[in-house]
Amino acid sequence: MTGITRRTLVQSIGAAASLGPFAVGGAAAQAHKGDVIIGASQPITGIFSFAGVAMNHAFNDFVTWKNAAGGVAGRKLRYVSEDSGFKLDQGVAIFKKIMAAEKPSFFFGDSTPWSKAVAQDARASGHVITSSPSLAGALADPAGMPHHFVPGSTYGQLQEILMEYIARSARGAAAKPSIAYVYSDGEFGRDGIPAGKARAQKLGLNIVGEIITRQAGVDVPPEVAKLRRMRPDIVIFQGYLVAPIPEFVRQLREAGLNPQIMATAWALDRGTYEAVGALGTRLTGVSTYRYPHETADSPMMAIIRDQLAKSRPDFKHVSPYYICAWLCGMVYAEIAERCLKANKPLNLANMKAAMESMTAFDTGGLAGLLADLSGHQIASGRIYAYDPDKKTMEPASGWIKA
């Protein structure tokens, strides 16, 4: 059994084990009076499986931990999830199935198309708050999507925070640094670019060029040739998970260029910063969440580490997806707590009001500052830079609010 297969099988078996009892057993398990149910349509399989498996684990572990700590205002949390295979048809069908069978108060989906496709039914049901790993700006919209919130900063805000940091760190320098954008031709890539460019212009930063590529199988050399002509001081990648970033960096260095390499959110996972670090380049970027090794400054991170030690000992790498899902679980629990404490039923109006009342929500350090969810998102983040000695991402700035 090859190395890569053993690790993946273990992961997926773990997922299945957690999936099995909850998905089927969930319905059969005797529902306690008024359990607070979190439904989910997770991309356990398909091209987004590494994120889906992590997020599914996170919700399971959060629910186990929260119930052990007394649940929510005396009620138990229950997590019911099924595999969407990252396909819209299946994801929507699962949403309808669990909504019918379990009447959940919270639902976590797998993508932007999913969030938009279930929006009208979710709102019509009047008893569910939805969320998803998508940081698309259109989803953080209290008026248009009253039932939905983004468990982090939107791509646009991440770009704005990045520009703020660039401007701030260049305050002393003679000339403002020139910036080049490289992003993928999809919503994941394009969504934040206009906001980033606008903020750059406001801050007097010079965007020397944009390179748009396919999502995968990118033909790097011609794009690097263009970058060579632009001579950027900073190259910001947006809309990629790992794939072409290391190759871009390798060919830039071979062409004698050594710009600062920046990225956002999901691209700041171990796969990327280690591959780029191996080339001697310090990946820098903005993330809404802290990294797992920062247990000192974040009590919640320590809790996560203990919970993992108990329930999932061989689960070594805690990715930003895991943190995002755990944080999302905390927001769900807090909304439920605020409603139940004021003994208001868990309907859309009350839950929306409760969420928007959470202007200084303590995330136990997962998201640095106290989170303000009135805008249906957590508009803050911090710059992290790769430390080749410690082989981890270390903070390189204070927490910035978008």
Binding site: A16, G20, L88, V92, K96, P113, K116, A117, D185
Partner: protein
């Protein structure tokens, strides 16, 4: 051997359902279908609506590729054209009974354009030409922001009939299956007329057909147009059902899904389209249920089985191609034949 079926006139011989038992079965089936919203669970309804939408598109592809033998990989793109047309028209206040036919007509027009190479090239070259059609249309979906909403996609206001909004699966169910029955009947009728015969003749030996008086130009383009019309209507129904759509939905894998459906179901027959669409939509579902049922005894099963969805999908295509080229329709016919004179021996 069917007994007690004697026709006095050619009109009877040519009817679609030529015996009382057939008419009874069809009536029972339609009754069960149109009362499903009242006894079906939410989940069943959602799946039924998705199957209905895929069925309309499969019926169309079974005309273009099943009957006329013109391989089309652009079917998903035509569905996109239909969906975006409905989205745009619905936003300008058009009622659904006007947007759906218009969407179908526009998709049919594009079907003719993409079908033009079919006059000069055949077989694999044609498949690649339609593949090119698919990518060009996908590019338009992603870039023409003002109409298609570009990469983030667009929303489609709910269909409404005289102000009565078609929201929720129950109301959409009737809209979808109203179209399914109408278009299935139309496809069945096509096979009874000279157009249907011309399609099959063009598929089997288009040179001989031409000498017998079949105008290849008009017949091949008609095959593309009808297929694209169905895809356009299916796209419109998809828009009303989901309420919002992004370009990623109309991927090449969807076109391959429909090709698999007509092959597994049965090339060239309406029954084949029905069986193919239902079967192929439920393969991932059946796999999920199997994985969950099995996960009690074999915890690892779900982890292994779920990603295997695509493997099973591929195995089905190859299995049917080798062992049952005429698809489920032939299996269905064999089963029906054994029960003709049930319980007596035929």
């Amino acid at each position: 051997m069917r007994t007690a079926v004697f026709h006095q006139s050619f009109r009877d011989d040519e009817r679609l359902l030529d015996s009382r038992t057939q008419r009874a079965w069809m009536a029972a089936f339609l009754a069960a279908l149109f009362t499903m919203p009242f006894w079906g669970s939410d989940y069943l309804l959602a799946m039924a609506c998705i199957v209905g939408i895929h069925l309309v598109a499969t019926l169309g592809l079974n005309v273009t590729t099943g009957s006329a033998g013109l391989i089309s990989l652009a079917h998903a793109a035509f569905m996109g054209v239909g969906c975006y047309t409905v989205a745009w028209l619905a936003r300008h206040g058009w009622p659904f009974w006007l947007t759906l036919p218009t969407a179908g007509a526009l998709a049919a027009l594009l079907g003719v354009v993409v079908g033009l190479p079919s006059l000069r090239v055949k077989g694999l070259y044609l498949a690649i030409a339609t593949l090119a059609g698919h990518f060009v249309l996908s590019f338009v979906f992603r870039e023409w922001d003002s109409v298609t909403g570009g990469v983030p996609g667009t929303t489609i206001p709910r269909a409404s009939l005289f102000g009565f909004e078609l929201r929720g699966d129950r109301r959409n169910f009737f809209l979808i299956f109203g179209c399914v029955v109408l278009l299935a009947l139309a496809a069945r009728n096509l096979a009874r007329t000279h157009h249907g015969r011309a399609f099959v003749a063009v598929r089997d030996r288009d040179f001989s057909a031409e000498i017998l008086g079949v105008n290849l130009l008009r017949t091949k383009l008609a095959a593309f147009a009808v297929g694209a019309f169905y895809a356009g209507v299916a796209g419109g129904l998809l828009g009303y059902f989901y309420g919002s759509i992004t370009p990623e939905y109309f991927a090449l894998t969807l076109a391959v899904f429909y090709l698999a459906a007509i092959i597994v179901g049965g090339l060239g027959s309406v029954l084949g389209s029905v069986l193919g669409a239902v079967f192929m939509t439920f393969v991932p579902e059946a796999l999920r249920l199997l994985a969950h049922a099995g996960s009690q005894w074999l915890p690892g099963l779900a982890g292994l089985l779920l990603p295997m969805g695509q493997v099973v999908f591929g195995l089905l295509i190859i299995g049917f191609l080798i062992f049952e080229p005429h698809g489920l329709a032939a299996v269905w016919a064999r089963v029906r034949r054994t029960f003709h004179l049930w319980p007596f021996k035929t």
